[in-house]
Symmetry: C2
Subunit: 577 residues, 2 copies
């Protein structure tokens, strides 16, 4: 593929003649098919252009940022990426890294490698953005690599469009001692530290001349947070101890204890109750001590303090704590939210097109943002006005049907409400509010229209902070950017309710493909669309195939699969590196 690109580029450059250039492309196509067409574009950029490309700055290379970049036609913009990590990490496999089932390098792919295959050049800077200034359309960055750089490594960038995909940090709920003594599990480095720490606990407990109490303390692993990450880590650790470490540390294997602490009343709250029950029973059989209704109030260097209405405050000595209780806000996001009148929010609010509210040309996606779905009730008069084409002050069923698709597209809660209530269409909704007397000739005034739609906003839902949502948002936003000019002229979105004409793009719509919760022992719980639940070994194989297929490159796919094979044959490595 690079050869074809190189060939067509060189040919095009040498010929400098549109006619001959087309011939060169033709020649190249015969050798490289579609590839040559895609790669030929940069050559076209050599012709003098009327307007310079708009500056598009992307912050972050996580799921949202990378998905955006992968789908973006980079030849249309002057693209610049700033991220403290020069790679994309397949984070759903982080718990597998903590115990060596998968190696860290197997789930990362350098951003430059991903970008190299794009049609236009992308400039990447490994730096941390510490301030966004939407008024002057600037971002301020700082290189976080050492101090050996002359100057302080700070720089500024201007933007025309800014895509914020900075993710979130771990939430400590301001519990004292957590940042100092607990491990988080959000980055590759976290997972590597946890792995080293697990091995250190075993080595510490193996030292001579220790009391059994001290050995037990060092082998007490505490996981705080019963969400999917915490549960998966506890299961991975249990398997690591059971499958591998018990053979290497036979003298102390019976002293190991894993505790899983959850403040709520059950594990895996976002999953179906059947999955929770299965997980809790499996953990009980495995000897993992699940403590629900326990709230951690303090962590010191020696013990973790928690409270429970029955037991009061208890102090438990530990060897290692992993803190995984959800996500919190990064300082830079707080600063931005203060600037744009979104203070006191947890994440940035965007509209349904991922545009940050009150902040022109800034887009936000992934864990750092959430979509604020407009309520039907807020816009009800506007909707009524748009639907009432003849300005009669009443709506006929026909008038409603004419704009119904636009309404449903703009306010997906309407469709959701119909589905939840098992209503076929809008007429059914009217039947509920109007009784059975719905005819074609029915005319609704605004009050009766309001009454019909009164309940639909109850279906407005926040999207979860998952990789799946972030990736879909990135893909969606890239498509919008790719069609910016076309859609300016030919808008494809729904009718504007509080304005004229149509929206440029269709609003973002999330499709849920299901979620996994690996429970250890080659068993996984899967909650698939339409509430289809599958638990056990077959789901584990589904998990393997989905996670292998979702890898960002063939390289990581090869590596992850060979890591799994290695683990099957040789087990996990227990070296302290």
């Amino acid at each position: 593929m690079p050869y074809t690109a190189f060939f067509s580029e060189r040919m095009g450059r040498a010929l400098r003649n549109p006619g001959l250039y087309k011939f060169a492309v033709l020649v190249a196509v015969s050798g490289g098919g579609v590839v040559a067409y895609a790669d030929a574009r940069p050559v076209a950029a050599e012709y003098p252009q009327a307007a310079p490309k708009k500056k598009l700055v992307v912050l972050g290379t996580g799921w949202a940022g990378t998905s955006f970049l992968k789908n973006l036609d980079t030849s249309l913009y002057d693209v610049r990426v700033v991220s403290p990590r020069n790679y994309f990490a397949f984070t759903p496999l982080l718990p597998s890294i903590t115990c060596g089932a998968v190696e860290p390098r197997s789930i990362v792919e350098p951003i430059r490698n991903i970008m190299r295959k794009k049609t236009g050049p992308v400039k990447f800077s490994e730096a941390e953005c510490y301030k966004i200034d939407p008024k002057s359309k600037k971002i301020h960055c700082r290189s976080n690599i050492g101090t050996n750089l002359d100057g302080n490594g700070e720089f500024e960038l201007d933007y025309d469009y800014l895509v914020v995909a900075l993710g979130a940090r771990s939430n400590t709920f301001n519990t004292p001692g957590v940042p100092e003594h607990c491990h988080f599990l959000k980055e590759i480095e976290d997972a590597q530290r946890i792995r080293r720490s697990v091995m250190n606990c075993f080595e510490k407990a193996s030292l001579p001349n220790l009391s059994e109490e001290v050995r037990k303390k060092n082998l007490h692993f505490v996981v705080v947070g019963g969400g999917p990450t915490g549960v998966e880590f506890a299961a991975e650790l249990h398997d690591f101890v059971q499958d591998d470490l018990s053979k290497l540390y036979p003298d102390i294997k019976d002293l190991v204890k894993i505790s899983l602490i959850e403040a709520g009343d059950r594990l895996l709250t976002m999953f179906d109750k059947r999955i929770t029950q299965f997980a809790e029973e499996k953990f009980k059989r495995d000897g993992i001590d699940v403590k629900t209704h326990f709230k951690v109030v303090k962590v010191s260097d020696k013990a973790i303090t928690m409270t429970n209405s029955a037991t009061g405050e208890v102090n438990v000595p530990y060897g290692m704590v992993v803190w995984s209780t959800g996500i919190g806000t990064r300082p830079i996001m707080m600063d931005l939210m203060n600037q744009i009148g979104q203070a006191n929010r947890r994440v940035l609010a965007t509209d349904e097109w991922l545009r940050v509210l009150n902040c022109e040309n800034v887009y936000a996606l992934g864990d750092c943002a959430t979509i604020t779905q407009r309520k039907v009730m807020e816009d009800i008069s506007a909707i009524f006005k748009v639907a009432d084409k003849n300005n009669s002050g009443t709506l006929t069923v026909k008038e409603i049907k004419n704009v119904l698709d636009d309404i449903i597209e703009r306010y997906p809660q309407v469709a959701l409400y119909l589905k939840t209530k098992q209503l076929k269409d809008f007429s059914d909704l009217l039947k509920v509010s109007e009784g059975d007397a719905v005819k074609e000739s029915l005319e609704l005034d605004i009050e009766r229209f309001k009454k019909a739609l009164a309940q639909v906003d109850s279906q407005v839902k926040m999207l979860p902070a998952t990789a799946q949502v972030a990736a879909q948002e990135g893909e969606y936003l890239a498509r919008c950017f790719n069609r910016m000019e076309i859609c300016e002229e030919h808008p494809e979105g729904p009718l504007r309710m509080r304005g004229t004409g149509r929206h440029r793009f269709k609003p973002f719509r999330y499709r849920h493909f299901g979620q996994f919760a690996p429970l250890g022992g080659e068993q996984t719980a899967a909650q698939l669309p339409y509430d289809w639940i599958s638990i056990g070994h077959s789901s584990q194989w589904l998990w393997y195939s989905v996670y292998a297929s979702k890898q960002v490159s063939w390289r990581t796919r090869f590596l992850v699969v060979s890591d799994w094979m290695r683990r099957f044959v040789y087990g996990r490595d227990s070296s302290c590196i």
Copy 2:
């Protein structure tokens, strides 16, 4: 294999009857062959023993220590291993790790995993020995894992036999600034740090708003020391830049510079001059700047200062320095040498049986020790007396021939001298000193005997500090320990010259199998026995096969080979983790 072992052990324990026990072994053998026999030994240990096993403490898990442990019959001793690393690392592949050709985990194997297959139990402690006390036969250790351990993690161990295989550290020749600003390349962690540092230099040089001068500075990689490690690292780095990074960092690839600084007059001094010449020419073609006759005198955070008789002192700004100029002494070894009257030496002196001089029951091997070969001239009167069986004051040729094998075994320099001078046997040597008048009836007095052997000690050679020597020493010493009791009764060594009877064991003899110097671009120089030299792609394949076959386990073999395959197909990973 574990099943068979488990089976025979359980059967044996259940039956508790020697006759039935043999039957059990027989049954097991039919299922598991040799395995069952080997695994049956621990059961025998359950019978009460007359004397408790002797305490054997091994310090270090590098090439020497691991090779010793692998070959030791651990059922004969109460074995305890102390090392700050709980794994063995295949160090010849360290330069491959620095640029991601091979992953760190692929070349390490946990010591406990290696020891699990042994016949007797081995206790391992991950700790650093900081003091050896040979008078009270104790060692003092400190756990180097965190501070979360109650107490300070210090402990003492008694020993009956102590095997010191602590290796060496990098030698800075007290050059100021080296420990603070340079990378070494002795441990896995060093190689990981170098890899991160190389990538950081590229990321730093890619930041916006930098002058070309600063970019060039950040992309100047300096390697100090033209030995095999330095040369291999420079070659690896060049390949990494050429094959992989130049595609990902096209704007700055031409600013990269690699300098290789050597204080002597040529690279690879321990290799044949043809290899040096080839390497220097290849590096010149590759654009690697080889600076011989340059001595580094200072390293600051910004520049490296070196002197040369022609240029005087020069200051060169750099992005990264790797220091690889040979090995120095660890503090604990200096302390031990002071205690036993070996002060001011660079490494511990041992005799030809690897016993530390002036230090009972302490053995030393690998990079921390060197064998002090007894000189013939020092023992000449004793040799004469032993050979002169009839105490006549003169030696006949027959008398000499009777003890010649013992002399050659005890003083290998004699054989070496004959070989170097192309003499067939001892009679030839006499011919040289006596003229052609050597007859069977010739009788030598001590002076003429001395004259004949006067030059042989010129052939006494120090063994190089290589993995090959360390591994052979470990294997040799393990065999000695395995046969300690048998050889006490039936000594197998040469005649004692300054005593009576025979030495217990044959002295250690090193067999050189050759040495590699990888030069990059899939080319390797190999210096094989009998001065056979091979340079090029074929040697690279020899290198691959030798290094794959020498791996400590099938697991690491599989991993190293799959890493090589991965690199062939997908190149090296450039993620900053």
